[in-house]
């Protein structure tokens, strides 16, 4: 059978004509909503069709399609349709016999969308199992659904009179993602059968020893190995020494293990900058701070899947944030879903396994209002990307039952072709489970999902630049998630952990089994029988099995005496667990298939053989004049515009789609206040039912600061992440940080130079604040090539903070609470508007990037936290994008009460004439500043606590709902009703 029976519409055949030769040889059930009930998916699609500028469609309806085995009797199919697939109240089911065309209502244009053969389809698997297990087929209840091949598809019916071109546009730009799905418009043909995989084969060798440099480079590019010439030469040298050619399996293993994604070659390599030779940027900046700070509460840093810090009696917290940029660019939904799925597995596989208790997410995308013609070829519109990644995180995180509590969205032109997706997970882990080991003789047990061709070359794909054909050539790099599989793995894993049935574990992430087994066996050795790995469908080559990034898999090291009990634990949760080999003491990695050795590698060469070339780095600050801070004609209008600008406007439409209540642990939620519409600085959870200890989670980034001054950006972003946790009650002395760098191509000296400056900024700030980094991840090569032009993303550092909250009953929210309370401004305002929202609104570039005063800021955080523990603080909000004006407006609209503030109260140093006084005070984004609500009777003790820092009573919470701000000359510069503020704040893109 061809892979796709009918991929192109047949223009000569009228739609609906009942003589399709290629109707699938399977029962077809299409389930539509009855006409008397609205079809929310259809309504939603129609709105999106309008957004595409297509007015000819009057109605869209979605039919959920199923293909069932032709061997079923009609009665059985009717029962399956009536009792399982369709709802008796809401739905009507159309059943069509094998090989027959379906009967279709007149006057509709049909578009069928089906997953490409071999693409993971969890609904089809669930349906097959449900049919088998509920006795819908001839009364038998079978556990084995293997014989029941089920496929699913979507049947869209468009009413009205769209042209062929319009139907094509709708299908391609809205309904289908052609990376993973086939579109069938004007045909009823659908693929039904087993996917075609590459022919299985035994050991294959690659002629490498005599290859020229050009041939080596060609081999690397053709195989998507992402190895540079130096690395290819090192491999060639190694095999010349061995006097044999490498096998395909060996070459793939080396490519995966040496990939930028797994090895962090840039961060761990040699860099020359301004005459200085940096040997391992990570160890000499970020990790160095951790080691020099040497906090006894850091339980595990940098070497495991996630960082671990001490939490409470007997319990620790693990935290990891991952990037999943390239997969999200070509399939936003699947890419973001598997991104969060992957970082959850990191937490499940840290130490001996942690229970995930919170998720975080951050997206960096292009402008929502980007004209369609400005979307580069091969790229989706930023709206589609954002909607897709939000839905991906939503559907994975919600299904896993993990609250998504903290995050952010940043908008910038620089992310149009290369969006960034960060996903993080916090885990709770018993104190005695922080370390893992592997002993020779332990069984290599793979648990979870089956292995297929999905996600081949994910690790190496993420290390090459995207180009306008990425969508098509990289289809295999996309993985589809199955969160319920992962949930089952988690349920079984925690039981097995608590019974101490295994002693080592890691997740299958980038590089699949090759990375997981290779890492676990690094210090002893391992032997793997690839033919034992359970497959989704036959026909995979050994190297495909070995490097597949099929999702929801983990690898355990199980002592042989525990194997039987371990298998039983997984079987009880319906999770496949399969021994595929064992760990050895040979220091070699041996791969076999059907008794034949298909690869044999020396662990030391595999892990330490990567050449370390010296790269050049330089930095030249952009030559831009300082625009100062021009005055605003109308501060009220300016403030409203800022509240509605993309980076500031409410993200409630995203927050509400995430379950932030599951597990019942959230104490400070993402949206707070009288109407629960105020943006919280951070989130606080109370993970242990019988303890008052909590954890505050915050994050920060900037897309603009880094272009101007990467070093200042790093310090400012760390300061903001700290502000976010301190503002909600987190202890700055017990705060751990995570770094995530997303950068352009670091083979370019100026990109690498920016990276060096940012990493050094991280070191300075971490040392000053006493906040160690415990984990991190870098994603380099975020570049996009269109024709001859290479576009690089803005240097982006995403910092996450995890702080202990000593007593969650002292946690603080940002909404003002009581009239007549004092509003105090804490922290120094400087003329720092470089990269600010205010200048961006005016189209001005340049200026001084905010930079914290590292000599004073740490003490300010400590003192503010101390005041909170004394109960002096009723509300607290940090000043960030949009400065004082935006912070005041947000606190006010969240609390449903106005404020009377007076800028003349602020004592400040003289600024150059180019800095308008009112505008600078209102919109500067200087670091380490807060607005704090203090009840009048506690003003003195609060100010005493903050001794040595700017701590000014700026005004009071009003009795009315008006925000009034007096300028330095005494006149009102802002006078706005709460409803106006709220409307502006909620005026942004709403999904």
């Amino acid at each position: 059978m061809p892979p796709s029976a009918a991929a192109s519409p047949n223009a000569e055949t009228a739609p609906g004509r009942p003589d399709w030769p290629d109707c699938p040889e399977a029962w077809r059930v299409e389930v539509f909503k009855r006409v008397e009930f609205d079809d929310p998916e259809g309504t939603h699609a129609l709105a999106a069709i309008r957004e595409l500028g297509i007015a000819s469609v009057t109605r869209a309806r979605l039919g959920r399609g199923f293909l069932l085995p032709p061997t079923l009797e009609r009665d059985a199919v009717d029962r399956i349709a009536g009792e399982l697939l369709a709802d008796p109240v809401l739905d009507e089911a159309r059943v069509t016999a094998p090989g027959e065309p379906p009967s279709v209502p007149g006057g509709v244009r049909r578009v069928l969308i089906a997953r490409k053969p071999g693409v993971m389809d969890p609904v089809a698997l669930t349906t097959a199992r449900a049919i088998a297990r509920t006795g819908l087929v001839s009364g038998t209840v079978a556990d084995d659904a293997a014989e029941l091949a089920v496929a699913t598809f979507q049947a869209w019916e468009l009413e009205g009179a769209p042209s062929d071109a319009e139907v094509d546009t709708i299908a391609r730009r809205l309904l289908a993602n052609e990376v993973i799905e086939d579109i069938h418009a004007g045909t009823e043909g659908l693929f039904y059968g087993r996917p075609q995989a590459g022919a299985a084969h035994g050991a294959v060798t690659v002629a490498l020893r005599d290859a020229s440099d050009a041939q080596l480079e060609e081999l690397s590019a053709e195989g998507v190995l992402a190895l540079n010439l130096t690395e290819m030469r090192a491999i060639q040298e190694h095999y010349r020494g061995l006097e044999r050619e490498p096998t395909a399996c060996e070459l793939e293993t080396l490519a995966q293990t040496w990939s930028e994604h797994c090895k962090h070659k840039t961060f761990r390599g040699l860099i020359e900058m301004d005459g200085e030779l940096i040997d391992d940027l990570l160890m000499s900046t970020i990790a160095r701070a951790t080691h020099e700070l040497d906090k006894d509460w850091c339980i595990s840093v940098f070497h495991d899947n996630a960082g671990i810090v001490a939490f409470d009696e007997g319990w620790d917290l693990a935290f990891k944030v991952e990037t999943h940029n390239h997969p999200s660019a070509i399939d936003p939904y699947g890419g973001a879903g598997t991104g969060i799925g992957g970082v959850i597995r990191d937490i499940m596989g840290v130490g001996l396994g942690a229970k995930p208790i919170a998720n975080t997410d951050a997206f960096f995308v292009g402008p929502m209002e980007l004209p369609p013609e400005d979307v580069p070829k091969g790229t989706m519109h930023p709206r589609r990307i954002l909607r897709g990644v939000v839905a991906g995180v939503r559907d994975y995180g919600n299904r896993m039952g993990i609250p998504t509590l903290s995050g952010g969205v940043w908008f910038d032109e620089g992310y149009v072709a290369n969006p960034l997706v960060f996903a993080g997970t916090v885990g709770l882990i018993p104190r005695d489970c922080a370390t893992k080991s592997v002993e020779p003789g332990d069984v290599v047990l793979v648990v979870g999902g089956r292995t297929g061709r999905d996600g081949i070359h994910g690790a190496t794909f993420s290390s090459v630049e995207l180009h306008d054909e990425s969508e098509t050539v990289s289809a295999a790099a996309v993985q589809i998630g199955d969160p319920i599989m992962e949930k089952r793995v988690l349920d079984a894993l925690l039981v097995a952990r608590d019974r101490k049935l295994y002693r080592g574990i890691t997740d299958c992430g980038a590089g699949g089994l090759s990375s997981a087994v290779g890492e676990m066996g690094e210090h002893c050795g391992a032997e793997v029988q690839l033919d034992q790995v359970p497959l989704k469908y036959p026909g995979l080559t050994p190297e495909e099995i070995w490097i597949s990034e099929a999702q929801e898999r983990m690898v355990l090291a199980v002592p042989p005496e525990n194997l039987a009990e371990c298998l039983a634990v997984f079987a009880a949760e319906d999770v496949e667990a399969t021994p595929i080999g064992h760990f050895t003491d040979t220091k070699r990695l041996v791969l076999t298939a059907h008794g034949e050795i298909v690869g044999e590698l020396d662990m030391q060469f595999l892990h330490d053989g990567t050449p370390r070339p010296t790269r050049q780095a330089e930095w030249r600050a952009p030559e831009l004049a300082d625009p100062g801070c021009p005055p605003a004609d109308d501060h009220g209008a300016t403030l409203l515009a800022l509240l509605g600008c993309p980076n500031i406007a409410s993200k409630e439409w995203i927050v509400r789609q995430y379950d932030h209540e599951v597990q019942g642990t959230s104490v400070v939620k993402p949206m707070v206040g009288a109407r629960m519409d105020g943006p919280s600085d951070g989130a606080v959870i109370k993970p242990l039912p019988d303890s008052r200890k909590g954890a505050a989670i915050g994050c920060a980034a900037s897309s603009r600061y880094g272009r101007l001054d990467p070093g200042a950006m790093a310090e400012a972003v760390i300061d903001e992440a700290l502000r976010n946790v301190v503002a909600t009650g987190g202890d700055p002395a017990r705060t751990a940080l995570l770094d995530n760098f997303a950068w352009g191509n670091c083979d370019k000296p100026e990109q690498l130079g920016a990276l060096v400056l940012a990493a050094k900024g991280c070191y300075r700030a971490a040392m000053a604040y006493g906040t160690p980094f415990i984990s991190g991840k870098d994603s380099l090569n975020n570049e996009y090539r269109v024709g001859d032009e290479t576009l690089s993303i803005p240097p982006t550092l995403f910092v996450s903070a995890l702080a202990i909250v000593p007593n969650v009953e002292r946690a603080v929210t940002m909404d003002v609470k009581r009239s007549d309370d004092l509003i105090m401004l804490v922290g120094t305002t400087r003329g720092e508007l470089g990269g600010s929202e205010y200048l961006a609104q005016r189209g001005l570039a340049g200026g001084t990037v905010p930079r914290p005063d590292l000599a004073k800021a740490p003490a300010l955080f400590a003192k503010l936290h101390s005041a909170m523990r004394m109960g002096y603080v009723r509300a607290c909000h940090d000043l960030s994008e949009g400065g004082l004006a935006v912070a005041a407006a947000e606190m006010s609209l969240a609390g449903g009460r106005g404020m009377d503030l007076d800028l003349a109260m602020i004592d400040h140093a003289d600024w150059p004439a180019a800095y308008d006084e009112d505008a600078t005070l209102l919109y500067s984004e200087s670091c380490t500043r807060f607005l704090v609500e203090v009840e009048p009777g506690k003003k003195f003790p609060f100010q005493t606590k903050l001794m040595g820092h700017v701590c000014i009573p700026l005004g009071r919470v009003a009795k009315t709902d008006r925000l009034k701000i007096k300028g330095t000359d005494g006149g009102l510069v802002v006078d706005l009703q709460g409803d106006e503020l709220r409307a502006a704040f909620q005026s942004g893109f709403q999904g």
Partner: protein, 261 residues
Amino acid sequence: MSQPKALVLRSAGTNCEDETGRALTLAGARTDILHFRRLVADPGRLADYRIVVVPGGFSFGDDIAAGRVWGAELRAHLAREMRAFVAGGGLVLGVCNGFQVLLEAGLFEPDRRPEERSIALYENASNHYECRWIHLETQDTVCPWLVPGERFPVPVAHAEGRFVVRDDSTLKRLIEGRQVALTYVNEDGSPPEYPADPNGSVHHIAGICDPTGRVLGLMPHPERNISPLNHPQWTRLPKREEGEGLAFYRRMVETATAAPV
């Protein structure tokens, strides 16, 4: 009075079993959490319990439709046992996905065949998953452990919670049979609009019971309002001793205790 035993069932994709178990324990029950396949293997275990709860989550990924697959499995394997449990005075609660499951399993209309079902839960009018706090009001109901007229805050978190009926006579039958147990209201008790009614349910129905009152299903999550710190506005509210959801579970446990075995 002996402490009643409560059974929290779970399946692949259940994710609220821990907080539901905790709420029941705090409310005074001895609580077990059990994978439903183990109950299918040994249905006699039901006799040990006075309360069965099907908690929230995404059973089987909500594939096909929310609660569809687990509901079909319960119907296929435990229908007789569950009916006998209710007839014997046992209490059954389904929360969120558990409500969807009980509805699919046919527990609210025990005399009807699957294709005759007259009530359904489907996609929210907003067409997306939604997590927010709302207010519930208890109606005049046959459910023996709810107090009519009571109003309390709880969170909702679902994508398919819109309660609909086959026809007007179904709604009439539910109201007259006092099966409409809980409705969405504004905080002051007035009729809600979106988002106070988060999904667009007919009659703003958030929860219903079976004709006996001993089977209750609701979309919102009372077990997520147990501690005073669960409430999204606790930093601006007067100090409270406990979340309102705890009283909901406590009365259920008390009723189970008082019921004759």
